[in-house]
């Protein structure tokens, strides 16, 4: 079989674009790129102002642990009220 081991598949070539240290805001249409400083426990999205608690898989690899409940709940309640008024 003519197996071309030198040619990268789509998945392999995409892995070259992988970034550590950043993640996207969990607010769907915001998609802001967030980059907490090493060890940070909180991060605020500069675009939509949602706030998240941060956990670290390893020192250079953060993930969103969950929302800062009080902050994001307030934003969600306001958004819900606005959307329902428009309906």
């Amino acid at each position: 079989m003519a197996v071309d081991t030198n040619k990268l598949s789509s998945a392999e070539s995409l892995s070259k674009t992988r970034t550590y240290g950043k993640f996207r805001c969990h607010n769907p249409t915001c998609m802001g790129r967030l980059e907490p400083k090493p060890g940070d426990k909180h991060v605020k999205c500069p675009v939509c102002t949602c706030e998240f608690r941060v956990a670290w898989i390893r020192p250079d690899f953060p993930r969103i642990r969950g929302p800062v409940w009080e902050v994001n709940k307030k934003l969600a309640d306001a958004a819900f009220k606005k959307k329902m008024e428009g309906k």
Binding site: V3, E12, R65
Partner: protein, 646 residues
């Protein structure tokens, strides 16, 4: 060769056993695993057969790569007509069973008939025995496996077992192997129970010849690097699958209080890092383990940290148990999740179905459709941890009116409970949804609506849709190996291009299920994991079979169509809420109330949803009623099914 593994046809009523090879032309059409199982089911079952009757064939398999040098070929697949849905029954689990079955000489078992008394099948190096299970019947899933090992005096035996739930014909009973590897959807454990079949035990030391062993091992190093370097797998190896629930809950994609909310607020106690701390406290720093040949190690080990069952060992919990016994029932407490997980593992019950039905019953209780008289005094309110755990036990042992009805599945239970109870049942084709809430994710809603085994995330979910990948990246993934020039959207709240993504994922997941590889090793949760373009090399080095990526796509499409043919034969229609490609009215009528600001206030748009179904059918080559056209069947080589080649 791996291709030397055979099919055994076992009749439990007569004791007759027939062994056949798997012809190469069948392999080239259906590969193995789930795809070949679907072909066997369509050919060996009759229209309208009773799922709990002797004529329903129970099919057990490994994939074509099982037990080879390829990475993570641990998956065991089980298929039959489902007693839960009356349609396709199918479940898939990790662990060590399928490789052992392959070393014992078999890739597929077709089990028919009903044993006169409780029995188990023992397969050892090409020999098959049907043995008495009187001393094993009644045991929990773990105890049954240990008892079989003791009886056979071989601690290396791997068994596929049912627990008390399967024996009691709970229609969502699991097939289990190991402590927590669960074939946990569509009630395959009940099918085993209906056959008086407690277990299938395997022990094999036969050789598996690899076509090109040096190249296979060399390439596998590369394959492993691709798998372990993915960010998603690094997270899995640290936190296990609970991270999925945590991330989904963060933006508002999990069902809470049945379907009233889409986020479990202040669920800090069951967040993945919190559960990981318990695992570390009770099991030490090296508490993650894995399945056969897997380097990801996503399986956590723990002991219950407190309460009456303190100290009991178990594995997981998977994200599904967080959803089932934490979010849906609004009991987000670690002890409840860990104990609930332990109980369903030991009883052999589907955690997703169990938690969903309990939370549905809780909403009915809240609305007065069920009362404390119905529940024999149990206060079945949301947030009642004790009620959740009590209901698990009651369902398994069919204690009381409500639990006994739930043990028959959601749709039959809704007919028992009456009133408008069915309106609140969150299911597709009779199977309850995962704990996820798809109102803000039209692509995921399409996935659960059209999944071949009922509402399900493991059949066609475009999970990477949640990552907001740039469109050029989506294009790269979704236009190979088959060109796609249509639109794609980075936003998971959109409807654009989602039908193609679901179609692509459906074929991708069928591909891995035929190979026998875990879905965490393909484009499920990570965009950089292997798929069609990568698989030909693994297949060639290990089996000698040559395929192009396009040919593998065709095989996957063909196998998915065989599942569709089975479902159509058994009554699938497009818009039927009980047996169709349709979701509950609440998706269209009740807006989400929680989650991220862009998620709140969303519903699925009925017209756009219907259009997505149209598009999805078009991609699959179905007519507007969801039936394959003559041209499609011809293109896929299925015009003469059932063809009885095996």
């Amino acid at each position: 060769m791996a291709l030397d593994r055979k099919i055994a046809y076992i009749d439990l009523a007569t004791g007759e056993i027939e062994v056949k090879p798997i012809p190469l032309d069948v392999r080239r059409k259906f590969l193995g695993g789930r795809g070949l199982d679907a072909y066997l089911l369509l050919n060996h079952s009759k229209k309208g057969c009773d799922p709990l009757g002797p004529d329903n064939p129970l099919i057990v398999s490994g994939g074509i790569l099982t037990a080879t040098c390829a990475s993570a070929t641990a998956r065991t697949h089980v298929m039959a007509k489902s007693p839960l849905t009356g349609l396709l029954g199918s479940c898939n689990m990790g662990g060590f069973f399928a490789p052992e079955m392959a070393w014992a000489g078999f890739h597929h078992l077709v089990i028919k008939g009903k044993a006169e008394k409780p029995s188990y099948i023992y397969i050892h190096n090409g020999e098959i025995q049907i043995r008495d299970a009187k001393d094993i019947w009644g045991k929990t899933t773990t105890d049954a496996q240990w008892a079989i090992r003791d009886e056979l005096n071989d601690q290396e035996v791997k068994s596929l077992v049912i627990g008390p739930a399967g024996e009691n014909l709970v229609v969502f009973a699991n097939v289990m192997t190991g402590i927590k590897n669960a074939g946990g959807r569509t009630g395959m454990g009940a099918v085993m129970g209906s056959k008086n079949l407690k277990a299938i035990a395997c022990r094999g030391t036969m050789d598996i010849k690899i076509a090109h062993p040096v190249e296979a091992l060399e390439y596998n190093k590369h394959f492993i690097d691709q798998i372990t370097s993915a960010k998603v797998n690094k997270t899995q190896g640290t936190l296990g699958t609970p991270f999925i629930w945590g991330a989904t809950n963060s933006w508002g994609g999990v069902r809470t209080r049945n379907f009233q909310y889409n986020q479990c607020e202040y669920a800090d106690d069951i967040e993945p890092e919190a559960i990981d701390e318990i695992c570390e406290d009770t099991m030490g720093p090296y508490h993650m383990s894995g399945c056969f040949g897997c380097q990801v190690h996503c399986r956590a080990q723990y002991r219950i940290p407190s309460g009456p069952l303190k100290g009991k060992y178990d594995e997981g919990p998977e994200y599904t148990s967080q959803g089932a016994f934490g979010g849906e029932t609004d009991t987000p407490r670690a002890e409840t999740v860990l104990v609930g997980n332990h109980l369903v593992n030991q009883y052999g019950m589907d955690n997703l179905e169990t938690g969903s039905l309990i939370s549905w019953a809780m909403e009915l209780y809240e609305k007065g459709i069920l009362t404390s008289k119905d529940t024999d005094g149990l206060d079945l309110k949301f947030g009642n941890d004790e009620a959740v755990l009590e209901m698990i036990e009651r369902i398994c042992f069919r204690k009381g009116k409500v639990a006994d009805a739930l043990a028959n599945g959601g749709i039959p239970a809704s007919k028992t409970f009456g009133k408008n109870s069915f309106d609140y049942l969150i299911q597709v084709k009779g199977m309850s949804n995962l704990h996820s809430d798809e109102r803000a994710t039209p692509g995921l809603a399409l996935n659960i609506a059209t999944s071949s085994r009922g509402s399900d995330h493991l059949r066609s979910r475009p999970a990477i849709d949640l990552y907001h990948l740039p469109e050029k990246v989506l294009k790269k993934i979704y236009s190979s190996p088959i060109p796609y020039d249509g639109p794609l959207s980075s936003e998971h709240t959109e409807y654009i291009g989602k039908a193609w993504q679901v179609f692509w994922q459906e074929n991708c997941y069928m591909g891995v299920d035929c190979l026998g590889i875990c879905k965490y090793h393909t484009t499920f949760l990570g965009a950089t994991l292997p798929n069609f373009e990568d698989w030909p090399k693994v297949l060639y080095y290990n089996t000698g079979l040559e395929f192009t990526p396009e040919e593998l796509w065709d095989i996957a499409e063909r196998c998915n169509m065989v599942e569709r043919l089975f479902n159509l034969r058994e009554g699938l229609t497009r818009d039927d809420l009980e047996k169709g490609d349709m979701i509950n009215h609440r998706y269209f009528d009740e807006p989400t109330r929680r989650g991220a600001p862009d998620v709140v206030g969303t519903t699925i748009d009925r017209e756009k949803f219907s259009k997505m179904i149209d598009e999805f059918y078009e991609h699959k080559g179905l007519d507007q009623k969801g039936k394959p056209t003559t041209k499609t069947l011809k293109r896929l080589g299925l015009a003469n099914e059932p063809s009885h080649m095996l």
